[in-house]
Point group: C2
Chain length 314, copies 2
């Protein structure tokens, strides 16, 4: 790794990958991207990024690759920003670009999404990151950064290393922000308390936004019960949540205008949903620890049915 | 009540009302109907009924009324075949046509749907009936009778009377069939074991048919758990179900080609759903008896959200 300009390869450069890649490129990093569907547009014009925080700008990656195998030298950091889906082999996807010194960085949703990567690359440093950001793809190579941007990042399964500090420093300098944590798994569970509940419920009953999900006291009671089930699963997995977390999350969500979850957007647009990473893995962790999660179990079964219907009708 | 030709008024003469009314008219009963939306078509042309069981035929009611108040003489039997919805006052709806001798017949879905009628008309005989039939409205005054047709009927809250026997005799003669029961509430609970589960689940996640709901072992496990919760609520209400009922219902449903529930059809067509009669009343009964029904509670909360969304977007 060079001292001034780390090389970074973004694998799965959709909205998230493009935004964080651009932010790092503007800090001097040499950022290349692997992008398939938008390859033509991005290799010609780069990414057009609209962002009130960073300013509207064009991001021209150092190299735009059609696939990972086209990577000629292993990067210092490899960012994996694809969705975590059962039928996507993420290990095989990144293997061609992982060198002995490559730090692998996962910016992905869900619980227990690091295990397969750690197992496949036991000698590489593995950073796990949670993105608190609203960003979407408006067209080929067109990214809209709506709000927020901060990452929570740490080594997996725990700790903070110089490579993590270096990367966090670049994010901090970029204005997006990055909070290092020596217990990123706990951070994942905390995010899951919201994600695991709001995402699938937003899909059941025909795409709700957050405001609809909290409209009546009975609705709120359901959300709250389900969130407390996630807290129980988290505690049983060794990550006790703050007793006021659920109340705080409900209040915070209510304070924002209604918006659609990532899963609702995926469902509406016929894209695969991260049901296993976001919900299934939480349920499986809870089951393993014999936590009673009747609401989550029901929602999980219904969400699988919704996904099955989606697959059938596509 | 005359000996040979009872007069019958059908209130809410949609598909169900038209089919059963027609069958009785063909047995010599004097059948009038109250129908609002199809009034013009029905008063001019009668109902066109396509039925392989009864034969395709036209049913011309004795009288076609725009509303119940237009009824000049109380009928021997008043059939109420409207959906049971919280914002529909069924008592007020039928009151103008209920005479001292009128037998009130409910052919409606759900649990605990008789109480309000009994309370309002304590001196009238009240029959409660369950229709096992597939019938739908294809257009103004156009009814398609797809399959089945049998009723299960009894006095509410229990027993069998001569008026019930007479009516059952007419239904039997009509080929649709009618099984008298001295415990119709138990029959309602039995039907609820299927209805309470398949109906709401069919609308969560985007309109499933029965085949989709039973596609995987995990799906079946959900349906089964929910159905056993209904059985527990039924038992606690004094109506124990046969231990093999759930298995038998699952097997029977699997043996049929996939079809959409009435609630799925309502949801798809933006019509109000009978969530309270079919699901809410079961949940309330279970709660009253302190039955644990976590799956039903979750489904109920989600179904209310779906109905709320439906209302909002109409």
């Amino acid at each position: 790794m060079t001292a001034e300009q780390p090389s970074i390869l973004i694998v799965g450069a959709g909205a998230i990958g493009a935004l964080y890649g651009s932010a790092l490129a503007r800090q001097g990093a040499q950022v290349s991207v692997v992008c398939r569907s938008d390859y033509e547009a991005v290799s010609r014009h780069g990414y057009s990024i609209r962002s009130s925080l960073l300013g509207d700008h064009i991001f021209r990656p150092h190299a735009v690759l059609r696939d990972v195998a086209a990577c000629t030298a292993p990067p210092d950091y490899l960012f994996l920003t694809v969705k975590v889906l059962p039928d996507l082999d993420r290990v095989a996807l990144i293997r061609p670009a992982v060198g002995p010194q490559t730090v692998i960085v996962l910016i992905e949703n869900g619980i227990d999404i690091e295990g397969a990567i750690l197992e496949a690359f036991p000698n590489n440093e593995l950073l796990s990151a949670l993105a608190f950001v609203q960003v979407s793809r408006a067209g080929r190579g067109e990214i809209i950064h709506h709000a927020l941007g901060s990452l929570a990042m740490g080594c997996y399964p725990s700790g903070i290393t110089p490579a993590a500090e270096r990367l966090a420093g670049l994010f901090e300098a970029s204005k997006l922000g990055c909070k290092l944590t020596d217990n990123v798994v706990s951070g994942r569970w905390q995010k899951a308390v919201w994600n695991t509940v709001f995402n699938p419920i937003s899909v059941l009953g025909g795409v709700f936004d957050t405001e609809m999900m909290l409209r009546t006291e009975e609705n709120v009671a359901l959300m709250r019960t389900a969130m407390h089930e996630v807290c129980a699963a988290a505690a049983a997995a060794g990550h006790p949540m703050h007793p006021k977390l659920v109340d705080r999350m409900i209040a915070d969500t209510r304070a924002l205008p209604g918006y659609k979850t990532s899963m609702a957007l995926d469902y509406e647009n016929g894209r695969p949903m991260e049901i296993e990473a976001i919900l299934g893995n939480v349920v499986r962790s809870g089951r393993q620890n014999e936590v009673a999660m009747p609401v989550l179990e029901t929602i999980y079964a219904l969400a699988q049915m919704a996904a099955g219907k989606q697959t059938t009708s596509r």
